[in-house]
């Protein structure tokens, strides 16, 4: 608080502000122009549980290969889906790039509020779609809807139970070349 009071009286004058301007291009994003990489942190909901996650992807034209990891914060346990996904870009040029995704991976359920329960892991598949909207050549917004399908062995009758989760997420994406 003292620092905030003293700074205005120091006589410092900042350099002129220079707004960041995006270089005008005919096409902002062109996925056909070589390989690009994206880092996409995101948040969202899986059922009534909140999620945080990170996606790392390598883009080449119509196809992306993606590694995704998430934390789903539940009441009695946390779920950690880790998956490898293949993405088909429905457009390769322009600001808006919709896509479809399919993948497979592991789902780890780690209990937090119960005593005696162990971590349960299972293999699952996921599929869904979304869209990326680029505000600049390096930064954009990404929204996605996905469905996870996995099986776990029931403790009651030892039969496999089919579990289906729906996830909706919103995040940002940073593009690198």
């Amino acid at each position: 608080m003292i620092a905030c009071l003293l700074i205005p009286h120091s006589g410092i004058i900042a350099q002129d502000s220079v707004p960041v301007t995006t270089k005008q291009q005919a096409v902002l994003i062109d996925l056909n122009d070589g390989v690009t990489f994206e880092v996409s942190p995101h948040t969202g909901l899986m059922g009534s549980s909140g999620i945080f996650g990170l996606r790392l992807s390598m883009n080449y034209s119509s196809f992306n290969l993606e590694l995704a990891g998430e934390q789903v914060i539940g009441r009695t346990a946390n779920l950690y889906p880790i998956s490898v996904n293949v993405i088909l870009n429905l457009a390769t040029r322009g600001r808006l790039i919709p896509y479809g995704a399919v993948g497979t991976g592991l789902l780890f359920a780690v209990p937090t509020n119960t005593i005696g329960d162990e971590t349960v892991s299972s293999i699952g598949v996921n599929f869904g779609g979304g869209a990326r909207y680029y505000l600049t050549s390096k930064f954009g917004i990404r929204a996605e809807v996905k469905q996870y399908i996995t099986t776990v062995k029931s403790n009651r009758d030892l039969r496999d139970e089919l579990l289906i989760f729906q996830e909706i997420s919103l995040g940002v994406t940073f593009m690198f070349r």
Partner: protein, 186 residues
């Protein structure tokens, strides 16, 4: 006592308004990294020290930015320790990670920026998904230590989430944090 509180609140308001009277924000950098420290009041437990790091990415002329933050505090409660020596969680550690968006209507003026987003709060080994509301102000320090890349910032954040202790009824908790930090633009 009431006049003392009003006086303290007035000092805080004046400090919030005077922070950017003679400086203009730097819009020429895309990112910043900041180290912050301050106080974090965990609802129902008390106020403890807080340290954290924040990464910001600025766009659209610096008026908008997204932020990822990680901070560490404690659930230590002197009231619970002195009254009953009660231990409600396995550990007193608390950490929070945030993912927020922000709008700075007046980067070189008086008005603080506002933030909104989501956070994951781990209190005593139990995780909670929280909403985040907050405000703050960036104060560039051009020429400080021979560079134009440094600045100060303060942030006030409210972590809002559903809390349940010892299997009792759930309630909405507000964890409030106030931090002051040094920011490096790049």
């Amino acid at each position: 006592m009431k006049s003392h509180r009003i006086f303290s609140l007035g000092i805080l308001v004046v400090a919030l308004l005077l922070t950017a009277t003679s400086v203009r924000a730097q819009f020429s950098y895309e990112s910043s990294l900041s180290l912050s420290g301050g106080a974090y009041a965990a609802s129902g437990f008390g106020t403890n020290h807080y340290v954290g790091v924040r990464y910001n990415y600025f766009f659209l002329g610096g008026r908008y930015f997204v932020e990822a933050a990680l901070g560490f505090s404690s659930l230590r409660s002197r009231v619970l320790e002195s009254v009953s020596n009660l231990r409600l969680f396995d550990t007193q550690r608390l950490y929070a990670y945030e993912f927020v968006g922000a709008y700075d209507a007046s980067p070189s003026g008086y008005i603080p920026f506002i933030t909104a987003g989501f956070a994951g709060i781990n209190q005593g080994g139990q995780s909670r998904f929280a909403g985040v509301l907050g405000l703050g102000k960036r104060i560039p320090l051009p020429g400080f230590l021979g560079t134009n890349q440094l600045g100060l910032r303060y942030d006030i954040r409210d972590h809002i989430f559903e809390q349940r202790v010892n299997g009792g009824d759930s309630f909405i908790a507000h964890n409030i944090g106030f931090t002051l930090g040094m920011q490096l633009y790049f």
